[in-house]
Structure formats: structure tokens, C-alpha cells
């Protein structure tokens, strides 16, 4: 089932949680609502579920207006951040709940409920824990019970509110891959909320980035990562180095060096207050000034060699902090030491006008 959200606005007292938000979730896709806290992503999810009523705007399920339908009538599976399991029921009863409360005419037989619960517990890999109480489970297990419970009523849409937010890093990673596989298996239209860009980029078919109650950008993970529409998106999707400069014609001037503006920059425009962003892994360090590439000098302040890449912190002569990430081989080849002065060159970058960066700023 496809979901469309049209021009939704929602306020809580003086606070505007969502301003004129429009998004589309194509049938069968897994979509992430990504944004920092307070961006309105959870509110949007709750409006889709019918747990919150929008001030204006419409929610369409398969093209039909569902705005006035109650949560009960929408047939959505909702997974809460803090699981919201029924404490007084066993795992089995939690999963069976949705089937047991159906009107008598639609209720499956006892045996059918039993079979379905076992099938779901197998799906979430909790087959043997049906008799346990929720309090006896770990966070990851509880989350999977919540998921099985939501799937038990065969919802047309699955909505997950920060599903892995309360779990530790390792479990999180496992569960999100598992969620992806599960989604591929059952193919249910799913929307999940997260503030973790890695999670969104890794798991989702499409990502909707929200900021201050507005949609900042919408697209595939590749699209939003490679072609961020605003400095906010660029900033939010990873670490960045930020330089202030000016654009003249097709050149970008940063301090005492200049370089060609990236091709997607509007040509011939002169902008005295451009902001240049470059990801740490797009910076290179060298002892010699590289030819054909913009570069500047900086001093190494700190080196973190642990991890997949070596993280190097530097400062420019003007005192601006720079973060660079190098592969281990490159780091060893250069023999970098704390206190050395090296040349920093930029392999790729993103230039935004001052106006854009004012608009998207905030991080």
C-alpha cells in the first residue's frame, strides 16, 4: 500500500512541529524519516499512524483519504521506540493480542492464532521465548516482540519509531540488517524514523530528511549523500570541514588559494560569501604541495590511529580546525607525527552560497 502525506501542518501550543510537509511512500518500499531531534519526524510518523491528528493536510492510503480514520481503523503496524509491550502478558500473548481483540466474526480460531504466533516468533527468532514475560527479555528481544506483535494483524503498512534507538551499537547494527532482510522477505510498505544517518543510508530504499518541521530533501540514499540539496543535509549526513570563501566566475577562492568550482555550481555567478564543505575522507595530506590541486598548510594537532581509518586533526595558520581521514597505508607511508606541518589538499567539495547556508544552518 502506498502512503501519501499532503501539506501536513501540526502545532503543539506555540511549537510548530510540522510545516506544510508533503511526502510520498511508494508501495513496498522501506523509507527512512531522518532528522535531528525536534525535526518533527516522530510527529509525522504518528500522524501517518493516526495517533496524532494534524492541524491541516491529508493522509492518503492507496490514494484514499485516511485522515479521519482512527488508529484502530488504519490497519497499520506501529512499533514504539520503548516497545510498549503489555507487561502483564507473556511474549506469546503480546503477539496474539491483535488477533484476540478482533470481532468474533473475523477472529481466527484458537489453533490458527497459535500457529500464527509461532510462525511470527520464528520470524523474529524468538521461538523458544513465548512463555517469558517482557521484563525477562533484553532490549533487542523486546523490540523484536514488538515487531512480531505489530505484524500479527497483517498490517498494510509498518511504522517504526526509532526502532533501534534504545539499543547498544552492536545490537543495533545486527537488527537493522535483519530488518532489511525481513522487509525484503515480506515486502510490506515500511516507514521508520531515525536520527542516525548511517542507519537511514544503510537500510532504506528512500530517505526523507526533515529539519525544523520541513522536508529538507528526499531521495535514494545515494542521491542524498552524493547530491545534498542544502548545507544542512551535507552536514547531517556525515562529518564535514567548512571553509568560507568567495565564488568568482567558475573559480572558488578560499583564503590564499583558488580552485575550479564544482560543475554543479551555477556558472558565472559571483558570491562573496560562499561556504565550502568537504568531507574528511576527501582531504589528502602530503609533505610536498601537490600540483593541480588546491592546497594549504596545516599543523597536525592529534592523531587517532584506532579504527577503519586514521583520523587526523589539524589547524590552519589562521587557527581553523580541519579533520582529515586517511587509509592506514597512506598514514604509514607518510610517517605522520603530531606537530608536523603538512599540505592539505581537497579532492572534492561542495560549494553552497551564503544564502543557502543561512537557511540550512543550525548544526
Amino acid at each position: 500500500m502506498s502512503i501519501e502525506v499532503q501539506k501536513i501542518t501540526k502545532t503543539f501550543g506555540d511549537f510548530t512541529a510540522l510545516k506544510d510537509v508533503t511526502i510520498k511512500v511508494p508501495s513496498g518500499q522501506l523509507v527512512a524519516l531522518l532528522g535531528p531531534s525536534g525535526s518533527g519526524k516522530t510527529t509525522l510518523l504518528r500522524i501517518i499512524a493516526g495517533l496524532e491528528v494534524p492541524d491541516s493536510g491529508t493522509v492518503l492510503f492507496d490514494g484514499a483519504d485516511a485522515t479521519s480514520r482512527s488508529a484502530r481503523e488504519r490497519q497499520v503496524g506501529f512499533v514504539f521506540q520503548h516497545y510498549a509491550l503489555f507487561r502483564n502478558m507473556s511474549v506469546f500473548e503480546n503477539v496474539a493480542f491483535g488477533m484476540r481483540v478482533k470481532p468474533k466474526s473475523e477472529r481466527p480460531t484458537k489453533q490458527a492464532i497459535n500457529d500464527r504466533v509461532h510462525e511470527l516468533l520464528r520470524l523474529v527468532q524468538l521461538e523458544r521465548l513465548g512463555d517469558r514475560q517482557p521484563a525477562q527479555l533484553s532490549g533487542g528481544q523486546r523490540q523484536r516482540v514488538a515487531l512480531a506483535r505489530a505484524l500479527a494483524v497483517q498490517p498494510k503498512v509498518l511504522l517504526l519509531d526509532e526502532p533501534f534507538g534504545a539499543l547498544d551499537a552492536k545490537v543495533r547494527q545486527e537488527l537493522r540488517r535483519w530488518l532489511r532482510r525481513l522487509h525484503d522477505e515480506i515486502g510490506i510498505t515500511s516507514v521508520f524514523v531515525t536520527h542516525d544517518q548511517d542507519e537511514a543510508l544503510e537500510v532504506a530504499d528512500r530517505v526523507v530528511i526533515l529539519h525544523d518541521g520541513r522536508v529538507e530533501q528526499e531521495g535514494t540514499p545515494e542521491e542524498v549523500y552524493e547530491h545534498p540539496a542544502s548545507p544542512f543535509v551535507y552536514n547531517f549526513l556525515g562529518n564535514v570541514n567548512l571553509f568560507h570563501g568567495r565564488v568568482e566566475g567558475s573559480k572558488v577562492h578560499l583564503g590564499d588559494f583558488s580552485m575550479d568550482a564544482p560543475p554543479d555550481m551555477e556558472n558565472g555567478q559571483t558570491d562573496p560569501g560562499a561556504v565550502v564543505y568537504a568531507r574528511p575522507h576527501l582531504l589528502d595530506l602530503d609533505h610536498e604541495p601537490p600540483k593541480n590541486r588546491p592546497h594549504f598548510k596545516a599543523k597536525i594537532v592529534h592523531i587517532h590511529p584506532a579504527g577503519a581509518v586514521v583520523k587526523v586533526e589539524l589547524t590552519t595558520d589562521a587557527g581553523n580546525p580541519i579533520n582529515a581521514e586517511l587509509p592506514h597505508e597512506r598514514y604509514r607511508g607518510l610517517g605522520l607525527q603530531k606537530g608536523m606541518t603538512v599540505f592539505v589538499s581537497v579532492r572534492d567539495m561542495k560549494v553552497f552560497s551564503k544564502a543557502q547556508s543561512m537557511l540550512g544552518g543550525g548544526i
Binding site: 495517533l51 482512527s70 497499520v76 514504539f80 510498549a84 491483535g98
Partner: protein, 274 residues
Amino acid sequence: MKPKKLRKSSVLPGFGLTLGFTLAYLSLIVLIPLSATFAKAASGGWAHFWNTVTDPRVVASYRLTFGASLAAAAFNVVMGLLIAWVLVRYPFPGKRIVDALIDLPFALPTAVAGITLTTLLNAHGWVGRYLEPLGIKAAFTPLGIVIALIFIGLPFVVRTVEPVLQNVDAEVEQAAASLGAGRFQTFVRVIFPELAPALLTGFTLAFARAIGEYGSVVFISGNMPMRTEITPLLIITKLEQYDYAGATAIGVVMLLISFALLLVINFLQRRAEL
């Protein structure tokens, strides 16, 4: 065989000390006076004891006291839950005042409550005069006793259920709704089981209080032998006749019945909490 280990290591030590103190304190405050009651009751001899506690007039009073107390406590469970629900769930103007009113039956001297209720409910009172044409007699009947006991027991259920209700996660209700449960199903299957232990506690407190209640009841009951005499009143009557052994004998029977009932309720509560 290994010695059974009673104590577990814990952040706050002192199991031995606190258990010892608890037992000593309970003995001093509860057990010693109670055993004195038993001793006193026995002082009149077995025949006197038996005759006193099986006197038809006394037996009728047990029935009235425990029956009215059960009825009042049960009524308070329903109304108390309703009041706690409203106080916890909805903001409304004057909420603080309503909240303070709940505790008033605790603070009011019970005799004042009794006199007030009698004035209201007698055939010429503000409320009683409208009940009279309907054939309902409240004052000087068992109904009046139940009303007085409801009055004094009200705060117990409200105050025990309130904090538990506050802790019921709104998300749990939303989860039930999104799974297709109606309001009634959500209440019966999800919310009520969480409240049940607190409701039982409130019931127990209201019930125990009602059994021993004297002040508010003696005015409204009219104290007609066999019909509206409560057990505590009979005890006072015996005392006034200097029949101390008889008074304590009735007291012992009350104690035993109460203890048995409280044990059963405690047992039910254990089950509800599991």
C-alpha cells in the same frame, strides 16, 4: 547439605538488623496487645466466651458489619477508580480543590461525619426527604451504614490507584489501539490488569477501616438490636456494662475473621501481581 542462604548480597546491607527490628517492633506494637486481648477474652472462661460470641444479637452484628464493609469497599473500588482516572487523565479547572476534597474524610472526626450524614439522610433532611417518597430509607437502616462506610473509605482506593495509573504508559494504550483493540478491550485487557493489585490494596484498606469504624456509624445506624447494630457498638455496650471479658471475646472473633479475610486478599493480590 549446604546451609540455606537467606541473605543475598545487596547494595544496602543490614538484612539481619532490619528484620530483627521489624519483628521486635511488630511484637511490641501489634502482637503483644493482641495476645493480651486473647488472654483477657479467656479470663471469663470458655462457656462465657462461647455464649457471648454466639449470642444471636452478636452474630447478627457480625453479618451486618462484614456485609456492609464489603459492600462499601466494593463500591469504593468502582467509584475510587473512576475518580482516580479523572484526576490523573484530565486537566480541568478546580482540579486541585477536588484533589484536596478527596482526603477530607480522613481528616474529619468520624462523629462529625456521622452526625452530618444523619442530618442529611433522615426523613426530613436535605437528601432524605427526596428519598422518602421513593420508598428509600437511608437513615437508621443498613443502607445508611453502608453510606457512612463509603464516605470514610473513599480516599483509600483513590490514593492507592492514582500513582499506579500515572505510571501506565500512554504508549501501551496506543499500541493496543493500533492493534485494533476497542476502548473497552484496551481497558479490560491492558489497563485493568495493571491496576488490579492497587485496586485490591485500596479495597483491603477501605474494608479494614470499615470493619473497625464506630464513630460515623453509630449516629446513622439507629442501633436497633438484630437490625442495625454493628459489632464495635456491641463491644462498647459490653464495656459500659463492665463485661470486659465479653467485650474482648467479641473483639477476638472480629480479629480472627478480619485476619482470615486479609490473608485471602493478600493471596489474591500475590496472584494478581504475578
